[in-house]
Amino acid sequence: MSERGIVLSVTVKALVAALLLTGPAAAHGAFVDVGATEAVAIHARYDTGEPMAGAQVSVFAPDDPAHPWLTGVTDADGGFVFVPDERAGQWAVQVRQAGHGAIGYVAVGTDGAAITVTAASTDLSWAQRLLMAASVIWGCIGTALYFRRARTAEPA
């Protein structure tokens, strides 16, 4: 199983914002305020394309990188949604499963509304991977040929 592949994307989702209970006049009356807020949606997958289902998510607030602000588990599609509070700065999201995982970053602006994703995964195309692998392999072949030749060139 290989690692990597955490893609962060931002979506605006309508979420239930607050549950307001009124006073004794309406003894069992309840009001639900529904509002829209901005949430961060995470989609985590392995670089083989399969989703990281049931992986553990740790969200770290900008001012405390040592202790998770929120923990959770990804759904079957490797998805996870959270709403950062108003703290501005770089939020870190780690997704990990059985020793594999990655960290992504989300920048939350001072006005609280602007969420920008700063780091996403470096997705390499099939051809790029092949070229990179071929370069390293060629380097190894070159090294092998060099030491082979150097040995035969010297009189024993």
């Binding site: 960290i103 030491f147 040995r151």
Partner: protein, 211 residues
């Protein structure tokens, strides 16, 4: 089966680097003591290429997938050269494809390097073996055993470095599932090592002795 950056606590990554440095120093020392240390370099270089490329080949083992690790083959083919070869191969995998990481390079080198050196120790007497079947069984046990040892080291390292805020039960279950997915890989690598060593015994027996 590479641990990426940001998974292990600092103590384990530093410890991994220390053990990897020790094993590499020991290996380089033994290589330098050989009559011609350069003689093994072409083969070590070619095996490094194979080791590097192997991690890119995914074998689907439902529900997940595994990739070739080759610690047994590296140890059986390279002897003391296996440790530096694995270190270099892992470094390229980390830098080029993000498989593993630079902070965890030491830990990953130990996870694969130690089984490779054990495999080297197991196959040392292979050149003197006269029975073909016994040699094949030893080759298979070496290849399969090295994968199992690497998986055990991987799981032990992860469990030792599990942060408190994670759901330990879920992570243990995920690690167990991943370890079980590697059982077919252990069989496959055992057969690969047995086949390659068997071939070399017939065609090029001095190559096994020259390590």
């Amino acid at each position: 089966m590479h641990i990426p950056d940001g998974i292990l606590p600092l103590g384990l990554t530093l410890g991994g680097w220390a053990v990897a440095a020790g094993l590499t120093a020991l290996s380089l020392n033994r290589i330098a003591a050989q009559p011609d240390p350069r003689e093994g370099l072409p083969r070590a270089s070619m095996m490094t290429a194979a080791f590097f490329a192997a991690s890119l080949i995914h074998i689907p083992v439902p529900p997940s997938s595994v990739h070739l690790m080759l610690p047994g083959l590296m140890g059986a083919m390279l002897g003391w050269y296996a440790m530096p070869a694995i270190l270099i191969g892992l470094a390229f995998q980390a830098v080029m494809f993000g498989h593993g990481g630079l902070t965890t390079l030491g830990v990953n080198a130990v996870i694969l390097g130690l089984p490779a050196l054990v495999a080297f120790g197991l196959t040392r007497g292979l050149g003197h073996m006269t029975q073909r079947a016994a040699a094949a069984i030893l080759g298979f046990a070496t290849g399969a055993g090295a994968v199992l040892l690497a998986v055990a080291l991987f799981a032990a390292t992860l469990l030792a470095g599990l942060p408190a805020h994670l759901d330990a039960g879920a992570e243990r279950a995920a690690i167990t599932a991943l370890a079980l997915a590697h059982l077919p890989l252990a069989l496959a690598e055992g057969m690969v090592v047995a086949a390659i060593l068997g071939f070399l015994r017939r065609t090029n027996p001095e190559m096994i002795g020259a390590r």
